[in-house]
């Protein structure tokens, strides 16, 4: 069953050529990685405790990051898109800043705020004896800090494009703002939430600089896949390559499974 397509002519070379270059640019390093990987080692390495711990840690911290983004980032995006308040523009700009911060700088900022001698961290330590660095919680915090701007931007974009008109319609029908959010806004921005979650998840999975600066690097508690790979680069490059491959395969697998159902924007 062939679908009738409009006779618009062949795509112009002026567009195809750069597109082809971009494709090669993006695909070549991945192909090279696949070719260079000692595949025989892969299964064996997958069985080592270090790799399993790192995989597990990456999995739970990235999922926790997405959860945090959904619970805290969605209301923030809604506030920025739907409510007018003094300083909104400033807040919007500040929320985006972690996006452009080099990850290590983000880590330094987190230490300044939440480290044992930090602005809030110091108080936490003095009052409750609770210290954030070197804990898995710290890893999640670092991930959420760098991933949330992606999420908020995606969701705020979705909120702007679905329009506030439906909010007015719901109000004329007698709905409170919370009911409107729950029954009208949220279902309509679902694709945006999914896209934002995917972005946040991906950023969290690859996060390294802020994590190692703020949370540390220790197998089982704070050593995520990227940290493990960097550590192994110090010693055995082949092992580092193989572990990179594992991370790549897992990521592609998850994205492929999600792609058709969630990432497609209607």
């Amino acid at each position: 069953m062939t679908r009738a397509r409009p006779s618009l002519g062949a795509p112009p070379a002026l567009l195809v050529a750069p597109a082809a270059l971009a494709s090669v640019f993006l695909v070549l390093p991945l192909v090279a990685l696949v070719i260079d990987t000692p595949w025989s080692q892969l299964w064996g390495l997958l069985g080592t405790e270090r790799v399993r711990q790192a995989l597990w840690l990456s999995a739970i911290t990235s999922l926790a990051t997405v959860a945090i983004c959904l619970v805290f980032g969605t209301p923030l995006a809604w506030l920025l898109a739907r409510v007018e308040f003094p300083g909104r523009g400033v807040l919007r700009a500040l929320v985006v800043v972690p996006l452009v911060l080099p990850p290590v700088v983000a880590g330094v900022a987190l230490v300044s705020a939440l480290g044992r001698n930090g602005l809030v961290g110091g108080a936490l330590d003095d009052l409750f004896g609770y210290r954030l660095p070197y804990t898995t919680t710290a890893v999640v915090i670092a991930h959420a800090f760098v991933a949330m701007p992606f999420f908020v931007l995606a969701v705020e974009g979705a909120l702007r494009s679905t329009g506030a008109d439906f909010d007015a319609v719901a109000a004329t029908l007698g709905a409170t703002r919370w009911t409107t959010f729950r029954r009208v806004t949220l279902p309509l921005i679902l694709p945006g939430l999914m896209a934002g979650s995917a972005l946040a998840w991906a950023r969290s999975l690859g996060e390294f600089g802020a994590t190692i600066t703020f949370a540390g690097n220790y197998p089982g508690t704070t050593q995520t896949m990227p940290s493990l790979i960097y550590t192994e680069l110090q010693g055995d490059v082949e092992v580092a390559r193989t572990i990179s491959m594992i991370l790549l395969v897992v990521s592609i697998g998850v994205l492929a499974a999600l792609r058709d159902r969630w990432l497609r924007v209607p």
Partner: protein, 348 residues
Amino acid sequence: MAAGPVTGPPVPGLRVDVDVPGRLRAAFEVPRGSVVAVLGPNGAGKSTLLHAVAGLLGDIGAVAVDGETWSAAGSTSRLVRERRIGMAFQGQSLFPHLSAEANVAFGPRSRGVDASAARAVAADWLTRFGVADLAARRPGQLSGGQAQRVSLARALATDPQLLLLDEPFSGLDIGVATSLRLELGEHLAAFAGTTLLVTHDALDAFTLADTVLVIDDGEVAQLGAPADVAARPLTEHVARLVGLNVLREGAQLTSFRPDAVTVSLARPEGSARLQWSGRVLSTAPHGDALRARVETSTGADLLADVTPAAAVELGLAAGREVWLSVKATSVQQYSAAPTPSATPSGTP
């Protein structure tokens, strides 16, 4: 409230005295149960009036419905969701992710009715509009006419005090619009509250409404019964709508029908005040006659009806230089009353 004879003047169904800066300045009142057709050219402020009364434009003046103050200058106005309004928007604005039934049930549910009772109310209203079989369909699967019916059902399902309809027939096929107009007429007759119906169509005004409110350039230009407005239009827009020629000098208006106009090539005899020279802009069939639109040297456009035979004789076509004249006996003269405003009778 104690039973017994009602004393004092009847409470108006809708009293409005609003000022939306730069867009609309309107003050009027109508009795309860009125169906008010809001006429006027594009951008005059018709939809603005609806949005203002609904509370969607914030604090803009005084609005009182059935004697209850919804907003008043100097005090906080009632929130949109606390006003018992049923609003049908231009383009329907049905929730795209909910079925037709869920859309109609949304109002009752939001006001605290439980899910199954709300569904029953929705099913009832969909039946009344003849679209019960579309209950499970999403708005994307409905035709224009069907969506408009669902939209109207949704507005009425909340049992409102005030019905606000924004161009309910725009974008519909003539046949669909006609049947929908008839149905809406029946529903409006059964509706106890007041209705504001914004429309471009004179037919809507004269078949559905008992009051016509003309808005022009952000001001109320005329308020009256349809027959009065049609016979003595105060604005060119309404004159065009009802097919009348209207000329205005200050507060004096002169109106005459197109079929009272005589078209000639040579300058006619008679009163110079009722003669105009001009150039034909366009011609179109109108019933048995040919209606010509003529741009006169005074700047005003006039309509003139001629028989097809006369048209041929005159060589009537766009660009033709002609003279128009009308007999003094065929002309109506009237003055524009001051803009109708609400004189508060009783407490606001």
